[in-house]
Subunit: 207 residues, 4 copies
DNA sequence: CATGAATGAGCGTTCATTCAT
DNA sequence: CATGAATGAACGCTCATTCAT
């Protein structure tokens, strides 16, 4: 990964998120990254491969973070769940653009390499969470009948939809005048609490 | 609305959902709808206007349904909320393609006519729900501190993400062999219950 | 020639003059004339044939006017020339649009029916003028060596270029504030005198 | 200006002159110039911009020629006028195609960049000529009341109309059998003499 | 004669990609 | 590895014309 590789990936991420994959031209990316147009094909092979590279990069980081939490022996199942929720929301906040692309790409269910990678990640993610849930069930702190995917769907769904509806949330709640960082922080806190509350109810534990 | 208008809109809906708006060509739509390429411009003016027509059509229907529920004097606030959840999920199940397009378009936050319509609809929707909530609060069956948008975000988020992750839900739960209609029905029921449970907890009422 | 025929021809004339033949669409004409789009093809056969009809109409009128002057036994050759100049300029002033189209069409030297008609008219015109010149030469009031086409070229060239450069003429001579009818009248008078002076010098007669 | 740029401009010039701007397709030009279709947009941005480039190129050359004559201190006003007439006719003979396009474009008085450039050039041209005339008037070799634009209109009109009526001139004068170069040379000489004679009469000088 | 609906052909333009240097 | 020039393919759209009614 040279410096230019990273520059290109970052600008591509930004543009794919704001204009869509199809709506972004290789020229757009080259211009934004300040590199020669032909370089993108040379470095990554194609526009599609650039998207793959971007996904690989971001998804690997995500995977490592999750594993770190799940394998952290010093945390109780309950703590792991709460940490995972926090980690997830933090990650989305840090990489908004990437998560928008991920969402878009999932809607358009093409049979691409990216989609296969994504599907694998999702299964891996669910299995890791599953192990945490089972750990909690053994310890009798979680309910028996937990629908993991449904629960994850609610988490990702809530966070994703909030991501794309942030402005509208702000408008509806008359918080347009609030400085952006303050609004973001408040929203983040509320979102975390909201998701955690849902999880608690669903898993049956009490904080 | 002639027959061909409808044909074109329906095929466009399908293709926009599966390939994205940008990923779908006017030729794709013309071929799928079995009409001449020029017809689409002839009828709708442009590809963009076709999308607008599609949104107008679908959003109007949605709006009327919601209003019917909210204005139904024979329902208690609690019943209205449950009916709205059911209506929403039913609507998404009926018009999967359209809701996928809506999701995609929201990610790419362009300043188009469609986006303006959508924003208006969302605000209208929230305001109607808001009136139901207030009604319930007056009757002291709902909590005082309810975050309407957050709640709606959870509902739409869960339903939307389930829409695009259905296959993966099935795979994770080893339900690949289940006949599709059965799976769909089970999922639908579970989803409705799940969302209603979250709402109950959030609004503070007991069924 | 029904009323609608004339309406169409007149609007077509206007549009062809201001937008060019290629730049004008059949729809433009139909809209401007307030008739159904398909009627133009039905009445005239095609866009090209409409242009032909327009040319036939205008050129016939022109031919009759010229013949009337040339065959007017009560005029001297000198009077005939002066009358022809006046008639020509009057005609151009009356039918500006048509003369613009004629000019445009001559530049694009396509082998169309229109062009053949136009060439014939030009030859007929030149032959009629020629007969007047010869008449004058026999009466020894005109020079022997007269280049008829060159002379006609100067007349039509001056009048045509003035037609398309009128505004610029006005601007250069600081007559922008002059009311349009006044400007037009002055210009017309000056143009007539100018062309007549050139003819006098060329033909060798004195007024 | 690369070789291909020039190739494209020259072929475009030819085609615009013979088929009109609207009547010429970008594909026509690409084929004629032996370049890829996309090259034209790649080099010039658009068909319109190609026309602009063509005008810029030709008009600059024209302007420089005129200025060289007007500023030539060794020439008397009378010589300048005669030289300008010769230069103009030579230029038109050399760049027939371009002058045809210029004429066509002026008829269709669109508000394009090209038209603005052209209007400027015409004013500049008139002002330069004007300075020569004034020079001659001070030296009392030219008349006091000279209508510069009318005079220029006659010159350009005569030359332009001769340009598009050359064949017809030949036919009327029974010179069809004359070899083309001979005809062209004779016509050129006659045209020059003709225009100069008109100017002499108008300006009042004697050669 | 009159017309709304329809269409094949072709328009100018843009795209991701390639390749000689 | 780096790049300006180039390109085939496809894009959305408009055109004059046709035809069933």
């Amino acid at each position: 990964m040279t410096k230019k590789h990273i520059q290109i990936i970052e600008k591509a991420e930004e543009l794919f998120a704001t204009q869509g994959y199809e709506g972004t031209t290789v020229r757009n990316i080259a211009d934004a990254a300040g590199v020669n147009l032909a370089m993108i094909s040379y470095y990554f092979g194609s526009k599609e491969k650039l998207l793959e590279a971007l996904f690989m990069e971001r998804m690997n980081a995500t995977k490592h973070r999750i594993e770190a939490v799940v394998n952290n022996q010093s945390l109780t199942p309950f703590q792991k769940i709460e940490t995972l929720i926090d980690e997830y929301i933090t990650r989305v906040e840090e990489k908004e653009a990437f998560y928008k692309i991920m969402l878009s790409e999932q809607v358009i269910n093409k049979n691409t390499v990216v989609m296969k990678l994504l599907k694998e990640l999702k299964l891996t993610y669910a299995r890791l969470i599953s192990s945490v849930i089972e750990e909690g069930q053994k310890q009798k702190v979680f309910r028996k009948d937990v629908d993991i995917v449904l629960m994850l769907t609610t988490m990702t769904g809530t966070v994703m939809l909030m991501l794309i509806n942030k402005d509208y949330y702000r408008e509806f709640n008359n918080q347009k005048k609030l400085p952006n960082p303050v609004f973001e922080e408040q929203l983040s806190a509320r979102l975390r609490e909201h998701v955690k509350t849902i999880f608690k109810a669903h898993l049956g534990y009490e904080s």
